[in-house]
């Protein structure tokens, strides 16, 4: 029961509650009330004021104040403006936006129309990953229904306000979540970022002022309008208002999506909502902010989850990925895993990200293979700092975070890898060796029978031995031994 009390569903309010393919169910749950309210009671300026007062910040990761973004776009003079919904969710293991789009597509449509009204745009575009077919299908149905009900189209509710939404599909590039890259991709150009300024709010899609918000950000908008900015601002902390959806994953008992008020501590999320570490193992670290975030440790467990505190702690909010690690996780390997992702997803436009991340990965790979030196650690840190300092867009500016944060918090593990050639978690295969403890071995032959390379010698009821030259460190012997005789060193 306590689990529920800790959670507060605003963005996910309708997910799993209503049938997402029936607009009537959305309407029955206050749906499109906010749009009606805006069109009948509020001027565009009033709407922007409400959003500003609510304190809502971008849920895509950057945390830029949403109301301010709307205001800047509203103030940009142009014959045409655009509202863009960024649904290019690409963090490994994160599916917050997908859940909203699949479970409550109308909330996004309603919010986009409100944004269009506020900034003076009549065109909305949803940039969505082609890998989200169900979300696309439901969004399409919802758009049709909204048009039929007159919530989209010309002269909405007799207000004279026109707004409609079209879909654009992303081809699965992580960097297209960066707003300038996203816009280029929508324009049919190569999905790579350009330097800012100019910001999209001044010159975006087709050179027109464009307001780009993330799915989850939009999902909050109707509730803010309906319940009022003050109500929303009363949730959360001084600088981070409202709730945040996280995708809990990793070595944790309860995995899945959660929505919690800002300011909740990592401890509450991991040990109360998440139900603690799997198999009673020891908590080691939690990676927040996806591949661009950092690893936080035991000492950060009581840190309240806010945009700014997470950055101070060396990580970030990101879009809401939260991966929990236990004592069996090697932190060098964790950093390598994330770098593997960023190397794959870099667009290749700027040299530090294109080549630097590759070199970071190679150095980490060298260290996990036991070939690293102490000098490598210095180079690793310098390179990480330079990539952050010189990269063109948010991807490169944050990609070394997993390296820096693991180096900051687990430096002794890095040292062990390069000086003692030891991986305490036993994950770096080239540094571990499997042995049989003669005191425990009963000669059952289970290990020898399961060894795929015949590296284990020994007669029945005799003590067995592993030939290190043949052993491929697959771990099959360790798994099969019932007498706790196989150990790793």
């Amino acid at each position: 029961m306590e689990k529920k009390a800790k959670q507060l569903r605003i963005a996910l309010r309708n997910c799993g509650v209503i049938d997402p393919q029936k607009i009537e169910e959305y309407i029955a749950n206050d749906g499109y009330n906010a749009l009606v309210k805006c069109l009948t009671e509020y001027s565009p300026r009033d709407v922007i004021e409400q959003i500003k007062k609510s304190g809502l910040r971008g849920r895509g990761g950057g945390g830029f104040p949403t109301g301010l973004k709307w205001e800047i776009t509203a103030n940009s003079k142009s014959d045409e403006k655009y509202v863009v919904c960024n649904a290019d969710e690409g963090d490994p293991g994160a599916f917050m936006d997908r859940s909203v789009l699949e479970g409550d597509p109308h909330s996004v449509i309603e919010a986009m129309a409100i944004a269009g009204y506020a900034i003076g745009a009549s065109n909305g575009l949803v940039y969505i990953r082609a890998e989200y077919p169900l979300a696309i299908e439901r969004l399409k149905i919802a758009i049709e229904q909204a048009r039929a009900y007159g919530f989209l189209g010309k002269n909405i509710l007799g207000s004279g306000f026109n707004f409609d939404i079209t879909l654009r599909y992303g081809a699965g590039a992580f960097v297209c979540g960066e707003e300038t890259a996203l816009i280029h991709s929508m324009e049919g150009l190569r999905g790579e970022p350009t330097f800012k300024p100019p910001f999209p709010s001044v010159s975006g899609y087709k050179g027109k002022p464009t307001n780009v918000n993330n799915v989850e950000t939009f999902a909050n908008i109707p509730v803010i309008i309906n319940k009022g900015a003050e109500w929303y601002a009363s949730i959360g902390t001084e600088r981070s208002k409202g709730t945040k959806v996280f995708a809990l994953a990793g070595k944790i008992n309860n995995v899945g999506l959660i929505e919690v008020p800002m300011g909740i501590t990592l401890r509450e999320v991991i040990f109360e909502i998440g139900g603690g570490i799997k198999g009673g193992k020891k908590f080691k670290a939690v990676q927040t902010g996806g591949p661009s975030g950092g690893c936080l440790t035991e000492k950060h467990l009581d840190t309240p989850i806010e945009y700014d505190t997470l950055i101070e702690a060396g990580s970030m909010m990101g879009s809401g990925g939260m991966i929990v690690m236990d004592e069996d996780d090697c932190m060098v390997s964790v950093a390598k895993f994330y770098l593997d992702f960023t190397v794959e997803e870099s667009c290749g436009k700027c040299s530090p990200c294109r080549i630097g991340n590759k070199r970071l990965y190679e150095m980490l790979d060298k260290i996990t293979k036991g070939e690293g030196t102490k000098e490598d650690l210095e180079l690793l840190r310098n390179l990480s700092t330079v990539i952050k300092d010189t990269s063109l867009c948010g991807l490169g500016q944050t990609s070394p975070n997993p390296v820096l944060s693991t180096m900051d918090n687990f430096y002794e593990e890095y040292l062990e890898h390069v000086t003692e050639h030891k991986c305490r978690a036993g994950q770096c295969k080239s540094m571990v060796h499997y042995f049989i403890n003669p005191d425990n071995c009963v000669g059952c032959t289970a290990c020898a029978r399961n060894c795929p390379v015949n590296a284990i010698k020994g007669e029945r009821k005799q003590i067995h031995e592993i030939n290190q030259d043949i052993c491929i460190k697959c771990g099959a012997c360790l798994e099969k031994c019932k007498f706790n005789a196989v150990f790793v060193k």
Binding site: T194, F195, E345, G348, C350, S351, N382, D389, T390
Partner: protein, 591 residues
């Protein structure tokens, strides 16, 4: 213009609002190093992807470093261009770039002329701390251009030239991350792309990723063959730029030394493409007059405007993009090909040798000329009219290899008869020159009067697109001039949809005309060099005793003794060509 104040390295500078940190620093005499950035002001060409990150600077109050090329100055901004943080970042980024670059500098075509090499030296790189895998790609050779993209540093200059300036669209970034590289679509070979071989990508490439096909060895072999009579022609733009390769000031005319050097290299006859340019004017000018007269006489089948056809990249461009307008360009061959055709007929006859015994080499500021001379239309029984076309740069390499002290050479004269030329032939080398030369002749032929003033200054200049009027004794000719294929496209689109009425259009594919050609000494982004070459060309024109093509005595003799008259049957056979649609030529590699 609103002025703002900014502090760079402790020095306060007042600059116009809107200037970048890089531009402001320049005003304060601080040279921030740049690699991908390139700006050719007067041509309106700018490459500013903010990609290399070499020009990063430290801006007070900003959390990361800022690219100076792309960051606008703000009032009160404080910038440090060389503190420890900046220097470390700059060197590290440079080391990264070098870590993914082949280390074969000593045998690279760009050795000594490479911007990357220079930058490594300027930044004092002595060791690469970050080593690892290098990105390897397939090498691609076309008739004109070699792509060795292992050496590509993703500066995107070629892409800007190919897409934005030339609107050819043959090159763009493909793949992502570490494997990102500039290539034709689907990583096809250049020959299967829309490439026109204009060579502007080569002209701006900072490394050896894009270079010309080196034909110097073929020339050396021909020169060493006692069985062959080797004839050389040199294009007008070469004499205005070759000196740069030997340390002379840009814009130094080296015509006499060029002739002397070619003779010392062992060419049997040293001729001038200017002669063929005069011949082109006779044919193209007559064609213009013929079309005009018929048009004015009410012949509706005549297509106007007439388009010049001297530029092979331009020919490739309209064959690719304007196959519906193939009857609009002049059918006159380019001067290079007219020269080859006359050399292997008229001259061979004069020397009493078979055309197969003769080797025609041309020295060109151009890479598309390499492709042009290989076209089937310009061969007789498989024997090409022009055997090899080498660039200004390749000629410089030949001269150096032959131990010739170029700057100390005496001035020598071209051989006759194909070395006789006029000022009209010389100005072919710069934008507006062909049409001015044509006007000089067409005016006198049309009106029967002598020109009071030979210079048609309204046709000159370096603006991208110019429309000028020329008075032909009461008949006003409207003339369009474009240099750069993107500008040509703008004109052609208007011709196609009928929104502009012109009598003649001159197009040169390269910015500035042939003086800015893809085979010229590298300008390294300095547009002044191109401007100085243009000046030199007009100077050579003024220096010439004869400045109108139809007054060239060698041309008069050629018509009297061999061709008959312009547009005669023989002229048509030897000096005119036809065009082909390339629209559906794009083929996908089968792999």
């Amino acid at each position: 213009m609103e002025q703002i104040k900014i502090k760079i390295d402790g020095k306060e500078v007042a600059v116009d609002k809107g200037l970048t940190i890089l531009e402001a620093a320049k005003k304060a005499n601080i040279n921030i190093p740049t690699l991908c950035y390139m700006k050719l002001d007067d041509f309106n060409i700018e490459n500013k992807p903010g990609g290399c990150r070499i020009c990063v600077v430290d801006v007070k109050g900003r959390k990361n470093l800022a690219p100076a090329c792309a960051t606008e100055c703000g009032d009160g901004m404080e910038v440090q261009t060389s503190n420890v943080r900046v220097l470390n970042a700059r060197k590290t980024v440079m080391e990264l770039i070098l870590s993914d670059h082949p280390f074969d500098c000593l045998v690279c075509a760009k050795n000594g002329k490479c911007d990357l090499q220079k930058m490594a030296q300027d930044l004092g790189i002595r060791e690469i701390h970050y080593k690892g895998e290098q990105s390897i790609y397939r090498k691609d050779t076309s008739p004109s251009i070699i792509r060795d993209v292992d050496k590509c540093i993703m500066c995107r200059r070629c892409e800007t030239m190919c897409n934005t300036v030339q609107t050819v669209g043959a090159l763009s970034a493909v793949n992502r991350g570490f494997m990102a590289v500039v290539a034709p679509a689907f990583e096809q070979d250049l020959v299967k792309s829309t490439c026109t071989y204009c060579g502007q990508c080569v002209a701006v490439c900072p490394t050896g990723a894009l270079t010309e096909v080196d034909d110097t060895n073929k020339v050396i072999r021909a020169l060493a063959n006692p069985e062959k009579v080797v004839v050389v022609q040199t294009a007008p733009a070469v004499r205005a730029a070759l000196g740069e390769e030997f340390g002379l000031e840009p814009g130094t005319l080296v015509t006499g030394k060029l002739v002397a050097a070619l003779r010392r290299l062992g060419f049997n006859y040293v001729f001038d493409t200017d002669f063929a340019a005069d011949l082109t004017i006779m044919e193209e000018g007559s064609e213009l007059l013929d079309r005009l007269t018929r048009y004015l006489g009410g012949d509706k089948s005549v297509r106007l405007p007439i388009l010049t056809s001297c530029c092979p990249a331009w020919v490739n461009f309209f064959e690719e993009y304007y196959p519906d307008l193939l009857d609009v360009p002049s059918t006159a061959k380019s001067p290079q090909q007219m020269f080859g055709a006359i050399a292997k007929s008229y001259l061979a006859q004069k020397l009493n040798i078979d055309r197969e015994k003769m080797v025609v080499v041309s020295i060109m500021p151009c890479l598309a000329k390499k492709y042009e001379c290989q076209r089937d239309e310009f061969k007789v029984n498989g024997n090409p009219d022009v055997d090899y076309a080498i660039s200004t740069r390749e000629l410089a390499a030949l001269i150096k290899q032959a131990n010739i002290n170029f700057t100390e050479l005496p001035d020598e004269e071209f051989d006759l008869p194909l070395g006789e030329s006029t000022g009209a032939g010389v100005i072919f080398g710069t934008t507006g020159g062909v049409i001015e030369a044509a006007c000089r002749t067409a005016y006198e032929l049309h009106t029967g009067k002598k020109l009071d003033k030979i210079d048609f200054t309204q046709l000159r200049g370096l603006e991208n697109l110019r429309i000028a009027e020329v008075d032909f004794n009461g008949l006003t000719l409207k003339i369009g001039i474009a240099h750069g294929l993107g500008n040509a496209r703008k004109l052609l689109d208007q011709v196609r949809d009928g929104s502009i009425q012109l009598h003649a259009i001159e197009v040169m594919a390269c910015p500035g005309g042939c003086i800015g050609g893809g085979g010229q000494p590298y300008h390294h982004g300095n547009i002044e060099i191109i401007q100085k070459r243009a000046k030199a060309i007009y100077q050579e024109d003024v220096n010439k005793p004869i400045r109108k093509s139809h007054e060239n005595p060698a041309i008069i003799e050629l018509y009297e003794k061999f061709l008959g008259k312009p547009l005669s049957e023989k002229s048509h056979h030897l000096l005119h060509t036809h065009y082909f649609s390339k629209e559906n030529e794009i083929i996908i590699n089968e792999e």
